[in-house]
């Protein structure tokens, strides 16, 4: 198979709130010939910073839901007894608890349960000011299958990727579970954004273990490194023997919060940061292309 004409990088953190989106938006604005995807479908935030217009919107059907037709139901209770998700009580299906396994629908002796495709989110194909494509999604409240939505939005992006695209930059979700796994598929490099706190390091270690399973190379950015320089040193000490490069250390600066409050990326808010992130982006490219 010929090499793809683009490289994919995803920004992850393990712990939430370390600055994934701040880094992802800044890198996205610096990178050229790119596609940007926000895969934090639980709580997407990149669109709050970017200027974009929406080309198309798509409904996402993440799975099916069961519903009991009370006219046909004889209240035998078999459905409730087989449901392992405690989704059926008093001959009603709780939409939020239903996993969409269809067991009740198939087992009902009275054919009283319908099983239908259910809309569980929306995603949008957008264009940024430089005409790059940008995709983001929103899972409906309390829906499951966020990993599947991540896969679907990525698939849409791949389908539409143009020949001249060199980079796909993906803002990832927190954690190490199913949406993270989905955001990682096909990725060439992971930028891990961590912070110098006990929790930051704890969660970083778990994320790095996950990346070992997927065998994806990564580099680390320590955000707000000067909040606790001892912890920052511990993080550096931890990643070195793992063969993970330190991409950058970013100092704590209230301007990062101000930028978000003004719905701007840090480099748009304070041009002094353009060089900082250009350097980071160059270093990332060097690490990946080596």
């Amino acid at each position: 198979m010929p090499d793809k004409h683009y490289k994919q990088i995803v920004i992850l953190s393990g712990k939430g709130g370390t600055g994934k989106t701040t880094v992802a938006t800044a890198l996205s604005e610096i990178a050229e010939a790119k596609v940007v995807i926000d895969t934090d479908v639980d709580a997407a935030n990149m669109h709050l910073v970017f200027d974009y217009y929406i080309n198309s919107e798509y409904d996402y059907y993440g799975g099916k839901k069961a519903e009991i037709n009370s006219d046909k139901c004889t209240q035998c209770g078999i459905c409730e007894s087989v449901c392992r998700f405690d989704a059926i009580k008093e001959f009603k299906v709780s939409r939020t608890s239903c996993e969409g396994c269809g067991f009740c629908f198939r087992v009902c002796p009275d054919d009283a349960i319908s099983f239908y495709e259910s809309k569980s989110g929306v995603y949008s194909e957008c264009e940024l000011e430089d005409q790059s494509k940008f995709y983001y999604a929103q899972l409906l409240a309390g829906e499951g299958n966020s990993g599947k939505l991540v896969s679907e939005i990525k698939k849409k992006a791949y389908e539409q990727v143009k020949e001249n695209v060199k980079w796909i930059i993906i803002d990832g979700p927190p954690g190490i579970g199913c949406p993270v796994n989905a955001s990682l598929s096909g990725v060439d490099f992971v930028v891990i954004v961590t912070e110098p706190t006990q929790s930051g390091l704890h969660d970083l270690k778990r994320l790095i273990n996950l990346l070992k399973i997927f065998k994806i190379p990564s580099g680390v950015i320590i955000n707000k490194y000067d909040i606790n320089t001892d912890m920052s040193n511990s993080i550096e000490k931890f990643i070195r023997p793992e063969g993970i490069s330190l991409l950058a250390k970013i100092p704590f600066d209230k301007k990062f919060i101000k930028a978000i409050q003004n719905s701007k990326s840090i480099i748009e808010y304070d041009h002094a940061y353009i060089d900082t992130f250009k350097t980071i982006w160059n270093d990332i490219q060097k690490v990946i292309l080596n």
């Binding site: 953190s13 393990g14 712990k15 939430g16 709130g17 370390t18 989106t21 479908v41 639980d42 709580a43 935030n45 709050l48 799975g63 099916k64 087989v82 392992r84 998700f85 939020t96 608890s97 996993e99 969409g100 396994c101 269809g102 067991f103 198939r106 929103q138 899972l139 409240a141 309390g142 829906e143 499951g144 299958n145 966020s146 990993g147 979700p173 927190p174 954690g175 190490i176 579970g177 199913c178 949406p179 993270v180 796994n181 110098p196 706190t197 006990q198 929790s199 704890h202 969660d203 778990r206 273990n209 996950l210 399973i213 909040i227 606790n228 912890m231 919060i257 978000i260 409050q261 719905s263």
Partner: protein, 283 residues
């Protein structure tokens, strides 16, 4: 009394508030439901007394009994079973443990077996907080079953404080459901604000009363205050952005022990929530 702490956006301060609240609530139980990245133990420093594996149930196909009739692959809504004609192959990451394949197999060729999906830990802190947390096995995709397990691991009553994972999907829902009250921790940014609104939507759907804590409060971001005011939402507490709180957290300290006036804020928060729960019971 079950109080859950959730947020939508990650890193707003859920765990700090949850642990702070636990430390001022007498004889309480703290359950860390952020099983992908549990951090409560870092602040509460419990002595772990029991650690045990947690399992999910997956089907095991006996290929000697199987006649490859395809029934199991048909009833599996998650495409976790593949029929290779000489073998039924299970992709266990996709299995939701619903049990349908086992039930419907005409050959009775499927049994259910346990597969480790993480571990659950139980402990106690020096000031008598009963502590529970769980670690999702690295590489395991679905967190919700383990969240349910760790919640169910504690059977007694008494005040229970549940630390939810971030987000607004099935994991968060599993953590907060059945709570008497949910504290939503947000921060003074459009990100925090946006994700707060998403989290509120979830709680409205499942009818859980909630109140809001604005962490790292910054009066310059007035949109959030206006929204809370205009929609008559229950604002419980504003915690200012302060370097001493950030530093204390970075060292893994419990802020009620090291940060001046944090304990007072938490006691005040607890009183307000108690009143809310009483109000709900009379309503």
């Amino acid at each position: 009394m079950v109080i859950s702490i959730a947020s939508g956006k990650g890193g707003t301060g859920k765990t700090t508030v949850a642990c702070g609240l636990a430390s001022v609530t007498n004889n309480c139980v703290y359950i860390d439901c952020d099983v992908e990245e549990p951090n409560g133990h870092i602040l509460l420093k419990p002595k772990i007394t029991l650690e045990e594996s947690s399992y999910k149930i997956i089907p095991k196909i006996n290929n000697d009994l199987c006649n490859f009739c395809n029934k199991c692959t048909e009833v599996c809504e998650f495409n976790a079973l593949l029929n290779f004609k000489t073998e039924i192959y299970l992709i266990d990451e996709l299995c939701h443990s619903c049990g349908a394949c086992t039930y419907f197999c005409p050959q009775k060729a499927i049994t259910e077996v346990k597969k480790e999906n993480g571990k659950i830990r139980i402990g106690e802190t020096s000031d008598n907080i009963l502590f529970y947390d769980a670690y999702l096995k690295v590489g395991e995709a679905s967190a919700a079953p383990l969240i349910k397990k760790v919640k169910n691991a504690y059977k007694g009553d008494g005040p229970i404080i549940i630390d939810s994972p971030p987000g607004t999907s099935c994991s968060m829902l599993e953590a907060v459901k059945d709570s008497d009250f949910c504290i939503l921790v947000t921060e003074s940014t459009p990100f925090g604000f946006n994700d707060l609104k998403l989290a509120i939507n979830v709680l409205r759907q499942i009818n859980i009363p909630y109140g809001i804590v604005i962490n790292k409060y910054d009066e310059n971001f007035s949109l959030l205050d206006e929204y809370i005011h205009d929609n008559q939402l229950n604002l419980l507490l504003r915690i200012p952005f302060r370097m001493d709180i950030a530093e204390s957290y970075s060292k893994g300290e419990l802020p009620t022990e090291t940060v001046k006036d944090y304990k007072v804020m938490m006691l005040d928060l607890l009183e307000k929530i108690k009143k809310e729960i009483v109000k709900k019971e009379y309503a």
